[in-house]
């Protein structure tokens, strides 16, 4: 194993670790979903011909399946296409063009802003940037966003129309939002009557330990607090079965679902119900999902451990350097000393290792401290992850060296 950055560079590694993609071995866990696709036929449990048009909110049994995963009534769940990102984009585009229940079209306002716990998911922030929604970075703690900050902002500023939330194993910090944080989000007074929580429950079943952690039910909490329409919940099976060809879900209040139906019925005649049928038949129920996720964990845990081991070996005790060991999700956050994240990414790239651009996890791509690195260890093989983690550590150490 190399012991300096220059040794590592000589290995001539060629590896892209920039995105949180599942590995081929993970995708193989759902091989039966593909191999047995020909045996599923096209008739749903209810006799619906899944080949034809219709059922804009999804196949009834797919909605019921989603409901069992999300602990909400099926009438409050939409089963959609292959991407929850599309659903989140559409929700905000609909809000801009038409408004959400309780308010007028956001495009009619000069200033529309969103709270963005940072570091967060770069694609969330890209949607805001594209739609011209001003982003306000929110400081992040281990138990979620800084709620004193959030409450103060939302109470006084009617231009703040919403907030991004990844409540469990936050992308990329791994934070698990506490019961108190969730309760405060649901109950806080908001100056904007149409304030919305964009609740991206992306890692609901993506545990890395045997503790199957959960966060409180946000729809229930909002209803209890007298804000039944506040939360829009998104989830996806993309990192459960097939990354590019799974099912996405949207869950919310009856009023928000009726809004969604009215808006989407102009856009589409319905989702791919055959793929929904295949998924329901393959996964069966929530227990089926959990069994499959246990097998993902078996593949993923050693990769996360390998990163922790390498970082511990090379970076343990280095001043101003820290990282987290997440209990779930797809990412590790590594913090370089002030001002060295970009340089570390550049050095890694020179050695053939493509990392997520420094700053990507912040609104407008700008990490004010230039400290944060998002590490995505899921896609490469375990050997590659071991080597890459060492390479990242050596790149960071070289970046520190350069400042001396």
């Amino acid at each position: 194993m190399p012991i300096t950055y220059d040794d590592f560079k000589k290995l001539g590694m060629r590896l892209d670790m920039s995105r949180g993609k599942p590995s081929p071995e993970q995708l193989d866990l759902s091989r039966a979903l593909l191999d047995e696709a020909g045996t599923v036929g096209f008739l749903s449990r209810d006799g619906i011909d899944c080949r034809n048009y219709g059922h804009g909110l999804g196949l009834p049994e797919a909605r019921e399946f989603g409901a069992s995963l999300l602990d909400v009534p099926a009438a409050q769940v939409v089963a959609a296409g292959n991407s929850s990102l599309e659903l989140m984009y559409d929700a905000l585009a609909f809000a801009m063009l038409f408004g959400v229940p309780g308010g007028d079209a956001w495009r009619k306002h000069d200033d529309v802003a969103f709270l963005c716990p940072a570091p967060g998911y770069d694609r969330h922030f890209a949607i805001c940037e594209a739609l011209g929604i001003r982003m306000i970075a929110v400081p992040f703690h281990d138990d979620g966003p800084d709620m004193d900050f959030v409450e103060a902002q939302v109470r006084d500023d009617a231009s703040i129309k919403g907030m991004w939330c990844v409540p469990l194993y936050s992308n990329p910090t791994g934070a698990i939002w506490s019961t108190d944080v969730v309760r405060r989000l649901a109950s806080m007074p908001a100056a904007a009557a149409d304030f919305r929580l964009m609740w991206d429950d992306a890692y609901r079943f993506h545990h890395l330990t045997e503790l199957k952690l959960t966060t409180p039910d946000i729809l229930e909490a909002c209803t209890a607090a007298g804000h039944p329409d506040r939360a829009l919940v998104f989830a996806s099976l993309s990192k459960v079965t097939i990354a590019g060809a799974a099912i996405a879900f949207f869950a919310s209040s009856q009023r928000n679902i009726a809004w969604w139906q009215a808006r989407t019925s102009v856009r589409t005649i319905g989702p791919d119900k055959l793929n929904q049928l295949r998924h329901v038949r393959f996964l069966h129920d929530r227990a089926g999902v959990e069994r499959l996720m246990d097998r993902h964990r078996t593949l993923l845990k050693p990769k996360f451990d390998a990163v922790a081991t390498a970082f511990g070996k090379w970076l343990g005790g280095v001043a101003d350097v820290s990282w987290n060991e997440p209990q779930g999700g797809y990412f590790i956050s590594l913090y370089a000393p002030l001002g060295l994240a970009k340089r570390t990414v550049a050095l890694a790239a020179e050695a053939g290792l493509v990392l997520t651009p420094a700053g990507a996890a912040f609104p407008y791509g700008i990490d004010p401290d230039d400290r944060h690195l998002r590490i995505a260890p899921t896609f490469p093989s375990l050997d590659e992850v071991r080597q890459a983690a060492q390479g990242i550590a050596l790149s960071l150490l070289r970046a520190i060296d350069e400042t001396r």
Copy 2:
């Protein structure tokens, strides 16, 4: 067979002919696409793992397949999800929010208008209505829209940003737009620099006769006329393979494709490439599509003939009643005497026969003459179509009787 409306009513028919859906027998033509789905695997010709994320513009071989169908270079084709309606909606939503190349966001203008040849496709008009785009009905001839009218409107009125076009076997009139109409659309001066033709080539392969008619290549015509970015072309395999689970295509100039990529890359990580792979392997090439469409024609032609026969028998020679015998597409237009379309639909409904609401094919759902009926004979069985056509004719005759 019944000989009066009352006789027909006594049959107690229960049939929904409101939408242009393929029949189960048509969907069975692509049975191998489902039955053999398990044998296709997940690796594309180029070694792409179709299960994972990425390829936002579609699987390369699916784009090439689309290019061969649409006679354009693959670089100018996007292979997308299961619905061309979604692509058309997104194109106009992007135009409203961000603008198209050559102009600013349409939402910044007080008045945005579209030309709508009428009768036309109700879902096109629903998109305009939802987005607040003012619709201007355009008179329709057998060879396409009234071009003198179109040219005069577009030349002088900068608020007119686009026009809906279904060039071949227009929904629902069956019109085939002439070379002269297409040339004039491509070359006419437009007051709005960002004027767009929404070119919905929905029935490109949907011939009902052995004449495989075509319309001139609109992208080529626009380029030749110095308006390379004018046309946005949409097509779909939904009525070729599986209505709810096929592939949709978008084709346009390089500049418009770059615009599409920039806008959609914020919304999605990519389409379902597995379904694209299955389609390419099943259909192979353009000849494969044409062979399959011949088999659709064998199923569809008798239904269209049955309607023509029934109408000829019952309505032949009735004053102010006419209908078309389309050479392709999914619909027949029946014209009642002035003011009797709504009543005919109501009488048919009383007899258990659900037709498309009268007026649906016009902007805002209003047929100023209340004459037009859209007949969708594809979904029911041939026996049902025979009976339904007679029922429609008898309902119309009763509506006429009532005025005497």
